[in-house]
């Protein structure tokens, strides 16, 4: 068991910030801490790496109480990721990511190699970014650097304190998708603090809801959504709870991998022929070498606009990432007016297609709509 909290408490005078908290945080999963402000979620997280010293009880990491750790050594062995403002403005991106390995006195050569690995992991081009400074990056890029920095020393445990809170909603969804893709690869034990229930449902394997310093419910994301333990949890989930069930389902598990692709060299006439054979009204234009998505071509456009190459006929398409939720897909489908969306991974490679009908079928299949009706 990586992290165990045993009757952990934090008091300020007579006030309990965290009260008698006992929970075992599952290994290699994302555990969300959520609750209203002042509920103790951040305090709980910061007690784990000793940024806030606990008052009573115990916290064990790999079976050893944190009291037996030197707090500085402890923190160097736990990843810590906060909002993008936590990047050091006087360090280059390279130096930012290298912070903890340098504190641990790694060899420069090993550090360099590790930094390159991490840049690849968070999908930033090392040649373009390593020598830049945080102020030269966009919010989303900075947050990717923040994630890379937190993972630099390859810690088993990573603490994340509202890491995506400062990013605008559209980019936040993207970076959440990328983060899930990364987690699939690295399988860390992650404690993630957020106040955003959408984020909690989307990212969390399990969700711990706190209120006034106490644990209200600690369960899998599915159970929290379907069986909220108290009225507070119901409030937190909001009135559109029914739809939040869709937020538990990932695009990657529901997309189809059969779709029609075309390359630029194909003539419009041949393209029309291919679509007819595949019984489809649209196809995706991809780069023949690496399958990267370039655009979408519809049969209607080919017939109507008689251009000589597919390049000129293709349109920019809305897209979605594999780890996005069906709820997000549905929103995007509505706003784009398409009946299907291409699914592309972090490197822009076309990996599947998600159809509106699939999502509608899911809604029908899930019990959540019925529960919602019962309540009404």
């Amino acid at each position: 068991m990586a992290i165990e909290l045993i009757n952990a408490e934090k008091t300020y005078g007579d006030i309990y910030a965290v009260k008698d908290l006992t929970m075992t945080i599952p290994d290699n999963q994302i555990t969300i801490l959520i609750g209203p402000s002042g509920c103790g979620k951040t305090t709980t997280m910061k007690m784990i790496n000793g940024l806030i010293p606990k008052t009573n009880g115990d916290i064990k990491i790999n079976g050893t109480s944190i009291d037996e750790w030197n707090p500085i050594q402890l923190r160097r062995n736990i990843g810590y990721i906060i909002q993008e403002i936590g990047l050091f403005p006087h360090y280059t991106i390279f130096d930012n990511i290298a912070t903890v390995p340098r504190l641990l006195h790694w060899e420069e050569k090993k550090i360099r190699q590790r930094v390159l690995e991490l840049m690849d992991l968070v999908n930033l081009d090392p040649d373009e970014f390593l020598q830049k400074y945080p102020s030269q990056l966009s919010g989303g890029q900075r947050q990717r650097v923040g994630v890379a920095r937190g993972l630099a020393a390859d810690p088993d445990i990573v603490l994340m304190d509202e890491p995506f809170g400062a990013i605008d909603p559209i980019n936040r969804e993207k970076i959440q998708d990328s983060f899930l893709e990364i987690q699939k690869e690295i399988q860390k034990t992650i404690v993630f603090v957020t106040h955003d229930i959408h984020e909690a449902i989307k990212l969390g394997d399990s969700i711990a809801i706190l209120d006034e310093g106490s644990l209200v419910q600690f369960d899998s994301a599915y159970n929290v959504v379907n069986n909220p333990a108290t009225p507070l949890v119901e409030d937190l989930l909001g009135s559109d709870r029914a739809f939040k069930g869709l937020a538990l389902l990932r695009v990657k598990d529901h997309m189809t991998k059969t779709f029609t692709t075309l390359t630029k060299s194909v003539s419009p006439a041949d393209a029309l022929q291919t679509m007819k054979q595949h019984d489809t009204k649209f196809a995706f234009l991809v780069d023949g070498r690496n399958n990267k998505l370039l655009g979408v071509v519809t049969a209607k456009d080919i017939k109507k606009r008689r251009a000589d190459s597919l390049d000129k006929l293709s349109k920019q398409s809305e897209y979605i990432q594999p780890y996005a939720t069906l709820l997000e897909s549905l929103t995007k489908l509505f706003s784009s007016g398409f009946t299907a969306l291409p699914v592309i991974d972090d490197k822009n490679v076309l990996v599947g297609v998600i159809h509106m009908q699939t999502i509608l079928d899911q809604i029908e299949e899930m019990s959540i709509l019925e529960t919602a009706e019962d309540e009404a």
């Binding site: 810590y80 403002i85 403005p89 006087h90 903890v100 102020s135 920095r149």
Partner: protein, 223 residues
């Protein structure tokens, strides 16, 4: 070139006064930089009450409006004439902008930044030297540069308490309305002040991280 005549006829005297000037400046300024920065670091540590740094900042802020000659005069009352009272007065007067700038700057550091460092396992001294100081270098330099400029300027006045330095030439020149002698004191003093400021500004650019300089650039465009 009547105005240069005193310099041309008495080069060794001008050099001697310039030398005295530099000694007085260097002694008082370097001590003020070391002690001023040390004090600012100490009062900005988490274990020192905010009230203490509040008080220091308001006192130094108000003291910046006190004319330098008033400080020289008061020190003169205690120690009499000579180089020592001048050095003491200039030291005290240089402390003011250094501490004011440094102590205020330490407060502007985003707490999230410090916490990020702590959360990654930096020790307190690593947080101070690897994060806080590099991030506020421009403000530290601004105090240190202001102190240097004021110090060199005030050193000319310190000649009134018998400290020596280029002020001697100006004072005597003023008394006898000898313009070339005034110039022989004023010109090297002005050049010295400008050179020291340019050197410090070069040093600042060299030492400060490009990331911080870019931040400032970005900000000055934004405002």
């Amino acid at each position: 070139m009547g105005i240069f005549s005193f310099m041309i006829q008495n080069p060794e005297r001008v050099m001697e006064k310039l030398y005295e000037h530099i000694i007085i400046f260097a002694l008082s300024w370097v001590t003020a930089v070391i002690i001023g920065l040390a004090v600012s670091i100490i009062i900005s540590r988490p274990w020192v009450k905010t009230r203490v740094s509040d008080a220091v900042i308001s006192i130094t802020s108000a003291s910046q409006s006190i004319p330098s000659i008033a400080v020289i005069a008061v020190v003169f009352l205690f120690t009499g004439i000579g180089m020592l009272p001048a050095v003491i007065a200039l030291f005290l007067y240089s402390l003011v902008p250094i501490i004011f700038n440094a102590a205020s700057a330490f407060r502007t550091i985003d707490p999230a930044l410090k916490e990020a460092g702590k959360g990654m396992g930096m020790s307190n001294s690593q947080i101070l030297w690897k994060m806080e100081v590099p991030v506020i270098l421009p403000q530290l330099f601004s105090g240190v540069r202001t102190a240097a400029t004021i110090n060199i300027g005030t050193t000319t006045i310190a000649s009134a308490v018998g400290a020596g330095g280029l002020g001697d030439l100006i004072f005597i020149g003023l008394r006898f309305i000898n313009t070339s002698q005034i110039f022989a004191g004023a010109f090297p003093a002005a050049v010295l002040a400008i050179i020291v400021d340019v050197l410090l500004s070069r040093a600042e650019k060299r030492i400060t991280s490009n990331g911080i300089l870019m931040d400032i650039e970005k900000h000055s465009q934004a405002v």
